[in-house]
Amino acid sequence: MFDRLRLTATTCALALGLATAAQAAELEFYFPVAVGGDAAGIIQRMTDAYMAQTPGVTINAIYTGSYADTTTRAITAARGGNAPQLAILLSVDMFALIDEEIILPWDQFIPEAEREAFLGGFYPSFMRNSQTGGQTWGIPFQRSTPVMYCNREAFAAAGLDPNTPPATWDEMVEMGKTLTLRDASGNVTQWGVRIPSSGFPSWLFTGLVASNGQDGLANDAGTEVYFNTPEVIGALDYLVSLANEHGVMEPGILDWGATPRAFLDGQTAIAWTTTGNLTNIRSNATFDFGLAMLPANVRRGAPTGGGNFYLFDGSSPEQLQAAVDFARWATEPAQAAQWSIDTGYVAPRADTWETDLMRTYAEEVPGALVARDQLEFAVPELSTFQGPQITKIINDNIAAAIVGEKTPAQAMADAQASADAILAAYR
């Protein structure tokens, strides 16, 4: 109540001020650096360029750490009454932010005539984690999808065709067996496959679930999860069998952060990780490598991931409009192409891929197209109300199955029960 009053008061004061001063807006913009490389510097250059061409708008870009840190910051700042105007947060945080009542839908800030062209220009698979209840809550920007990195030299050394990555689950096991090398005493010197299981286990797992024929782990309203279906249990069975039954993957929890290093050091011939690692791996690999879509079982499939622009409640209309304008500018083909090339993120709009810049890049790095082409088969990442807690529940149970504490069926039944108990309040 009091906040409303204060807000009205500031809005009035601002409106009065605007009558006399030139249109000036100062924006706070929180952004995480989720991938290595100089993403912080790239964002800074981007905001600098925008400010240079848009007098009167000042963007204070604040680097706030990992995605989790940035979400924590944004929520605490908003609760404390000094929310940023704009932030890049995980697309799956949408429901949590709606639940906190701290973000605004974008639709009203985009003129009706342009709405269809702008919002419709994004790949539909990205919009599935950005819209709910008929409104658009996130603008896709820093988006990614997991791909398979293959060490071509290791493939050739094992007598496999370096240009034919595994296309199905069975092929991945078969090739994995050929690629797993042991020394004289039986210790593995090179594993076939690495699907990391710390950090974002449920994300990569969603890829397995999708290729096993299930369209994501939750409904689009964020109120139901589907953890104990035969598709999901089958996917977990497969993941567990890679280490236990087939011996093509190292047993136990595999660290997410160490995965690029493991691939670069030849510890594993195939690694599943985000496209966001492309630039990093490209600049550090001492061998020839290739990118491939995740293998199919009943169909192809992969989750989308990464971050969206969110617009925060609690600022003046002028600030909000300026924030919207900046986000629209940042997703324009020229900017989005440069961003995608610099970071390895997937450009979220089809028109970006038509630019000369992007075409040249795609010719130089054919792997970059893999991510785009995979979008056709993409399903949304797990996103629900109380998202962090639900994600934690399934992550813990995936981990329990991997380390052999529970059977896959038991783990997923437990996850379903725990998640249902929490989500009941939102149905």
Binding site: T72, N187, A258, R261, A262
Partner: protein, 289 residues
């Protein structure tokens, strides 16, 4: 006398106000918070009585975390103290490279745990980490230390012991220097074996330090969770989760502040009980000047 009261009040007031605002008052508030539900967007906080405590009793993660913390405390406290004492005994007298040895033992104190955790992650990496390369060298098969539910907790425990033993050493070192040289000389003349001298003279004289450090180590066993953020995030499946990390996760990742308050109450109760116990023990066994 009255003037003394006034002086005392003036001298104490600033410290006491801060102490109460950041220790006692929040402790009481936490108890109150634990009786209410967590406000969520549209749904305000309501009084729920002991519902949060019922949830606590039924929460398998809570049980797991408490058990882990017990093991963690039972290992870190004696191990850090014993190693600290060994270090102090090593470097108190003349020994080859004393400066280097002191520096080596002391390094963990100046390297922030959060930064060092990344280094330990590398040491523990299966296949190509430092320990693994050593294990392979002597012909042992690789082990996924942090990724296995039976070893993850010990992985983080080792790091804690490493991190605090060197700091504790300083206290022992200081205490050892106060033991009169005459005692040692007398013992030497009588041909008293080193171990007997240690057991009969050094160890009893170090008792106050040992008790002081055991209090410290106990608090640290509940407070030192920095490396969990980097090394395991409490995983796999809570195998290395500790109470304070669980509180952080509940309060600042899940935003379930009421349940976090409930967990905090448990922590406070444990610390008060341990504190009182040690206080009486210290009072009985140690004679302060």
């Amino acid at each position: 006398m009255r003037r003394d009261w006034l002086h005392a009040a003036l001298l104490l007031a600033p410290a006491l106000v801060l102490l109460v605002s950041f220790t006692h008052w929040p402790a009481i508030q936490t108890v109150i918070d634990s009786l209410w539900s967590t406000p969520r967007g549209r749904r305000p906080s309501v009084f729920v009585g002991l519902a949060n405590y019922e949830r606590l009793m039924a929460d398998p993660t809570f049980r797991r975390v408490m058990w882990n913390n017990t093991i963690y405390a039972a290992l870190t406290i004696p191990a850090s103290i014993a190693l600290a004492l060994a270090m102090a005994l090593y470097v108190q007298g003349r020994i080859i490279g004393r400066g280097f040895l002191r520096l080596a033992y002391f390094t963990p104190t100046v390297l922030p745990l959060i930064a060092v955790a990344n280094i330990w992650v590398f040491f523990f990496l299966p296949g190509f980490g430092m320990f693994e390369q050593l294990r392979q060298w002597v012909g042992l098969s690789p082990r996924n230390w942090l990724g296995d539910q039976s070893t993850a907790l010990y992985g983080v425990t080792i790091v804690t012991i490493w991190a605090q033993a060197g700091f504790f050493m300083i206290f022992y070192l200081a205490a050892l220097q106060t033991i009169p040289v005459a005692l040692r000389e007398a013992a030497a003349i009588e041909g008293c074996p080193r171990f007997t001298f240690f057991r009969r003279v050094t160890w009893p004289l170090l008792m106050p330090t040992t008790l002081f450090l055991s209090v410290n180590a106990t608090i640290n066993a509940f407070r030192t969770v920095d490396h969990l953020f980097v090394m395991t995030q409490g995983g796999p499946n809570h195998a290395s989760n500790l109470l304070l990390y669980y509180i952080y996760e509940t309060g600042f990742t899940f935003w379930d502040t009421a349940y976090a308050a409930t967990l905090t109450v448990v922590m406070v109760v444990i610390l008060v009980v341990v504190g009182l116990g040690q206080f009486f023990l210290m009072d009985r066994r140690v004679h302060y000047k």
